[in-house]
Amino acid sequence: MEEIRRLVWDGTLNIEITVDADLVLADAAESSRRVFLKVPRDMYLVIYLPFIVARIQDILKIDLNDVYQGWWFHFGGTALDWTQPIGVLYDSLHNHRESMMGLGDSGRRVEIWKLRLNHSHQYPSGIIPIINGLRQIRHYWMHQWKQACFISNGSSKHIMSLSKQEALDFWDSILLRDRKLFRSICDKIIASSQPVKRIPVKIHLVVGGIRKVKDAAAEGPLSAQYTLGEFIGQQFPEYFPLESAAGGQTEILMQGIRPSLDLPLDQVYFKLASFDGFLHVLVKVAPSQACDDMNKITSKNIC
């Protein structure tokens, strides 16, 4: 299990960010508008805004009071929801099937995800404004953990019992990429050695590049044989009939991989859960299959 956790933790994305031409001086060179980053998949992209803005500030023609406020990323016209791990957004919007087909004989190719950076007084639809910088981002992340803790244990006591120093260390472990420290505090919140009441899952239903999120807790007590396929089949019987493990054109992704649907759900959670305490499950549906199914997903973001 630890080896898979390490691979998940170490997973990275290469990103090229180009700041919108309207925000920079007319004589700014094209190359000076670009910033290249290698970022952990399990991270919020907005964490890197101070670094990115520092790289482009000499060519900006806008006044900045805050390196977080007003900025937003987009890909192909889709504004990126900063509250989801960047790897989840990449898997949602990137066409894995096409990129696999493009591999050379060596099977290796450097993928670069090309994003645009924009800035405006009003954020586009689907983006939560950042009004309190890194503090807000930390609170948001901690709040996700409170939810995950409540879902897993039936109360938030485990996380509320962390000392102030432990809570700070927990956040620092993310910023400093200290996996050992991160795991030690994770285990105090949701112990992998004990059965969980429910499993915290966020399902991202992606149809034709449009993503909707549903919080779905797999209800316990879970049997050891309760599989990922059964869980998804219960959530989306129209795409994954329980009698058939195959999902046709539908693709399931977690942390950039296609897991076996026969794996026990609790094992999948403890191996592939994200840095926010949730297992992010991407269900990518071919547009022809989708019809009006997007309307079936409703928001249940909770405390």
Partner: protein
């Protein structure tokens, strides 16, 4: 905690009371797939914020099995003689609301509209509101709506 059935039943009986709230401008029931999405528009009673209105939504949270409060803040401006209403996201909510007892974050996204709302985190609701009985929601209202009006309790006195 409160069951969804009790939530709906108690909310229905409290709506007429809430509509008499001195700051309440409008009360809507939004038909939704969720249980009990109710929305109220409430004037600010802050002396320095006469142009501020709160849009308050009350839903049932199926995971916590608790009432769930989200809100947005609208500011009315006068532009070229015309009134213009726009959303306001103050970085320090305590200057606008009575936030002392609550954990609040700008972290709720309405998936259908793509709009951001402040949410009052409900992970400690049970500790604040106590055990369920037929007056659970009344207690919840009388505590959580102090965010907007410290005198909210007076509208429930007739129910005692």
């Amino acid at each position: 905690m409160i069951s969804p059935e009790a939530f709906d039943r108690q909310l229905s009986s409290l709506i007429p009371i809430i509509s008499k709230w001195r700051l309440c401008v409008r009360l809507d029931l939004r038909q939704n797939t969720e249980i009990g999405v109710h929305c109220a528009y409430v004037h600010s009673n802050h002396p320095n914020l006469p142009d501020v209105t709160f849009e308050i939504s009350i839903q049932f949270n199926p995971i916590y099995q608790e009432p769930f409060l989200t809100f947005r803040i609208w500011k009315t401006k006068c532009v070229d003689g015309f009134e213009k209403r726009e959303l306001w996201f103050p970085s320090n909510l305590s200057t606008v609301l009575n936030t002392t007892f609550f954990q609040i974050g700008l972290d709720y996204m309405d998936q259908s509209s793509g709009e951001a709302w402040f949410q009052v985190h409900c992970c400690d609701t049970n500790d604040i509101t106590g055990q369920e009985n037929d007056k659970y929601l009344k207690r919840w209202f009388s505590v959580y709506l102090t965010l907007f009006d410290e005198r909210i309790g007076t509208i429930f006195q007739d129910l005692a």
